[in-house]
Amino acid sequence: VIDYKTFLSLASQQALAGANPLTSPLLDIEMTAETLVPDVFQSVSLSYAADAQKASLLSRDHTITLTDGSGTIPDTVLTQCKFNSTAYLESDTAATQASLVRTWLDFVTPSTTDRLLARYHIKDQTIYWIEANAAFESGVGIDGDIVLNIPSTPEIPATEDDDLVVADEVLSDLITSLAQRLRGVLEKAA
């Protein structure tokens, strides 16, 4: 794990490879590097998400606050990877996993067996939650926090000293991708 300023410095240094460090326009490139980070994070994440074997490397926990049984999913979550997600109530010390229900119809009209577990459904940027053995009722549900583990675009740290939380395999790709972008190598749009 490295902090954000180290990440930016490593990518900038990698971009300088082979260039004259005294005259290269890539000197003091950190300001430009930072503006490219959101785009690089997005493109690298999408390339991982497109590969089912690699998507799990992007998984991380998000705490989402539910109000009346639903909550808003953070923008960094790759919702197209929702079938790789898991979720549990934060207050549940045993972290009992809920069941993802793929279709809305099955979510609101579960079979008797399906009701034995808490269940959730993701629609666009909203997550819906129904407790075990509870029936769906529009606009009604629990209030509280759940923990959703799902592939996500890496979070840009709040400050330069904060850690960049990604798997090591992803980190090296992020550094390389940012360095290539700094050198003017345009990547194919994901």
């Binding site: 954000y4 300023k5 003091d28 950190e30 300001m31 930072e34 740290p157 709040a158």
Partner: protein, 240 residues
């Protein structure tokens, strides 16, 4: 051990033929006086003690200017100071943080809270862009640009390394017989400069030696020509 101002002043007095002494031992007595005073000088000489001290300080300040004008010269460390904290857009001050006059070219621009963090010069456009988007950046940037008389930068404040020379402070140090401000190896240059400024016999020669020293410093050298004491002046002093 550093050379005291009085040691330099004695050499100037000797070179100007101003030391009292009817014989070599008498001259030695005057020469060894820890703090040169009016009674160590010949009574009917051309120069009062104040003129000798002024000439010393004139030569010292000229050498200080030469050092301060030479970026990266190792002797700048004898004159180094910092300005007071400067916020972006402020005019660069003419004095340091202790109100001493700044001389020569400016040194590094450092972060106002940590002078080990040296800022990098950037075009004005880069700094203006940073200002317009300052809430966006997670990184800390250490950029500055000096625009005519002002400085703009990306820190909450910066300190500028600078050389200072305060003649009043050095006058006080001289009178207190403190050590000289500049390195010991500049004693010959100060003596020759002071003798040139006084217009002593062979002043042209001393002027040449002094100018050589100034040129050497400005070319980055730290070795200056040594002064040759004028033997006729010594003879003149002895005969007084």
């Amino acid at each position: 051990m550093a050379v005291s101002y009085q040691t330099v002043l004695r050499q100037i007095a000797l070179g100007a033929g101003m030391l009292r002494g009817e014989s070599t031992p008498g001259l030695q007595t005057s020469y060894e006086d820890t703090t040169l005073n009016q009674w160590d000088l010949i009574p009917d000489g051309k120069y009062p003690l104040s003129a000798l001290t002024d000439a010393l300080l004139d030569a010292e300040s000229a050498l200080a200017n030469a050092i301060a004008d030479t970026g990266g010269h190792p002797w700048r460390s004898y004159l180094l100071s910092f300005t007071a904290a400067i916020t972006s857009g402020d005019v660069i001050p003419a004095v340091d943080g202790d109100s001493n006059p700044i001389i020569g070219i400016l040194g590094s621009v450092c972060d106002g809270e940590d002078t080990s963090l040296v800022c990098t010069e950037q075009p004005i456009e880069v700094i203006r862009r940073w200002e317009r988007t300052s809430s966006y950046w997670k990184q800390q940037f250490y950029y500055f640009k000096i625009a005519v008389d002002s400085i703009i930068h990306t820190r909450s404040s910066v300190l500028i390394q600078c050389c200072i020379y305060n003649r009043e402070t050095q006058q006080t140090a001289l009178e207190a017989n403190n050590d000289m401000l500049l390195p010991d190896s500049l004693v010959p240059a100060i003596v020759s400069g002071a003798l040139a400024f006084l217009g002593v016999e062979n002043a042209v020669m001393y002027r040449g030696m002094f100018d050589s020293s100034v040129s050497a410093i400005k070319s980055g050298l730290t070795s200056v020509p040594s002064v040759a004491m004028n033997s006729p002046t010594m003879a003149e002093a002895i005969s007084t």
